[in-house]
């Protein structure tokens, strides 16, 4: 139900008719989860731009530049020779336990989005443990009016939501859910 409500929340966020009148509008997806481990421990697992191995769909991360601005990485999905997503880091803070990145190259068949930027952060949770928040903003994969279903706003939102959900689920698996 929660996932459904998140989807509904992102589906209609822009002013009415802008999508109809002028092609695609920018979409936004925000997902959060709570885990039992403290923020430092969670950040140690996910706070390296060059290591996306915590996400079940990522088979390999190959990049340059560490966690410096403009560092790059190429994610291989499913298998080391699987389809790829190329990304660049544009914000990084150990202090804030957050980083932001953009996709520089991906086929719409792999992820049906364009002009995608994303932000991942870990925050302390009241009562102990952590909150992990992952949000993204993007356009659908089809730049003009009347997109095919697989390149619609809804398809883009569903795909990004699925990626985030799978990653956050893996963190709950790894660190456990908070007790209270």
């Amino acid at each position: 139900m929660k996932r459904f409500s998140i989807l509904m929340a992102v589906l209609g966020f822009l002013l009415p008719a802008m999508a109809m009148a002028h092609g695609p509008t920018r979409q936004k997806v925000t997902l959060t989860t709570e885990v039992a481990a403290e923020p430092a421990e969670v950040w140690a697992a996910i706070g390296n731009f060059q290591d996306m191995s915590w996400h079940p769909a990522v088979a390999a991360t190959n990049g340059e530049g560490g966690n410096e601005l403009d560092a790059t990485r190429v994610l291989s999905l499913g298998a080391a020779d699987g389809p790829t997503i190329a990304e660049v880091l544009y914000k990084f803070s150990d202090e804030k336990m957050s980083y932001s990145y953009r996709i520089t190259d991906v086929a719409v068949e792999v992820l049906p989005v364009t002009n995608y930027s994303s932000h991942l952060t870990v925050k302390p949770r009241d009562g102990g443990g952590s909150i992990v928040e992952w949000r993204g903003a993007f356009y659908r994969g089809y730049p003009n009016n009347d997109p095919p279903p697989e390149l619609s706003d809804e398809a883009a939102i569903n795909a990004v939501t699925g990626v985030y959900q799978q990653g956050l689920d893996a963190l709950v698996e790894k660190f456990g859910a908070p007790n209270s």
Binding site: M1, K2, R3, A9, V10, G12, F13, L14, L15, P16, A17, A21, H22, R26, K28, T30, L31, T32, T33, E34, P56, A57, L77, G78, A79, G82, P83, S100, E109, V110, L111, S117, H119, K123, R125, D126, I131, E133, R135, A137, N158, A159, G162, V163, Q165, Q166, L168, D169, V172
Partner: protein, 319 residues
């Protein structure tokens, strides 16, 4: 192989704590920020740099207008306009409009509220107290932002898909001028000399108009996709939605003097009553950025709910 989707999604618990601190006295300027994705209204104490209240506001709220004790909001998805009382933050009145309510501005001289109808080439004029419709004003296609001049003479709407601005006499509600501007004007506001500044999202510039004559006295280049404009310390500040920047324009020369790097996807913008601080809502970052209007340096960020837009006048001075 796609990014595979999780077959059994786990329930992520909502992290948004609904703070209930409405009883606290107002200290300094307060910002009222519509969170479109989160469907909430954030109340920010700008002096303390904290969020002091957050109330539910259904229907994908974006437009906002504040004055005195009144907080007016527009929820386009629910086609609903609401008025809240500042002190208690309780809802006082509500109306559902038949169309696409989008932009909003308040005329305190006549206690009238103006709402643009994105679908039907008109503005609604509502009674500020009852929110009943008093009149309809014909505009161009897709009216979006609305502004009222400080001297109470003019109402203006940015008619986005007609590439024009409609200017109305605020007393009689008669159409005064139609002014062709740049491509797809969206946000607009009058400065303290009652000149109208209009952001054109298609041509990435700002048209400056003398409302009396309808003359365009300047077209000022800004950044990519200008969204909103506010004024302080003899300067205009324009949010550039696609560029994550704020263009600063000198109000004497009407030339851009600086570009400030801001948060991501900057949208709604307003000034504190004393003009010391410019506040910008960052739609992607879920924050507002505070800018010193004198030094043009960023002085801080305050967290909001999800998807802050604050499309309109959203800051009130001390009670």
């Amino acid at each position: 192989m796609h990014w595979s989707r999780s077959s059994v999604p786990r329930t992520p618990k909502a992290l948004c704590l609904i703070l209930s601190l409405a009883a606290l006295p107002a200290a300094g300027d307060i910002a009222f920020v519509t969170n479109q994705n989160g469907e909430e209204l954030s109340v920010l104490d700008l002096s303390a740099g904290t969020e002091i209240n957050r109330i539910p506001l259904p229907g994908q709220p974006a437009g906002i207008a504040v004055h005195g004790t009144h907080i007016f909001t527009v929820s386009p998805e629910a086609k609903t306009v609401r008025r809240f009382d500042r002190a208690t933050m309780t809802e006082q009145a509500r109306v559902t409009l038949d169309g696409g309510p989008t932009g909003i501005a308040y005329d305190p001289t006549r206690d009238r509220l103006f709402i643009s109808d994105w679908f039907n080439t008109r503005l609604w004029a509502l009674d500020g107290a009852t929110l009943t419709v008093q009149a309809e004003l014909a505009t161009g296609v897709s009216p979006s932002g609305i502004a009222v001049s400080d001297d109470g003479r003019w109402i203006a709407s940015a008619d986005r898909d007609s590439d024009q601005v409609s200017i109305f006499d605020a007393e009689t509600l008669d159409l005064h001028k139609v002014v062709p501007v740049g491509v797809r004007p969206y946000g607009l506001r009058f400065d303290d000399q009652h000149r109208l500044f209009v952001g054109n999202v298609g041509t990435n510039d700002v048209s400056v108009i003398i409302p009396d004559t309808g003359e365009i006295i300047a077209t000022v280049p800004v950044g990519d996709r200008p969204y909103g404009v506010a004024f302080a310390k003899g300067r205009a500040f324009v949010t550039n939605q696609y560029e994550n920047t704020i263009t600063v324009i000198d109000l004497t020369t009407l030339e851009p003097i600086k570009t400030i790097e801001g948060g991501e996807y900057p949208e709604g913008i307003d000034a504190t009553e004393d003009e010391t601080t410019i506040v910008v809502a960052n739609w992607f970052e879920n924050t507002v950025t505070l800018i010193d209007a004198e030094t043009l340096e960023i002085t801080g960020d305050i967290e909001t709910g999800d998807g802050p837009r604050a499309f309109g006048v959203f800051i009130l001075g001390e009670d």
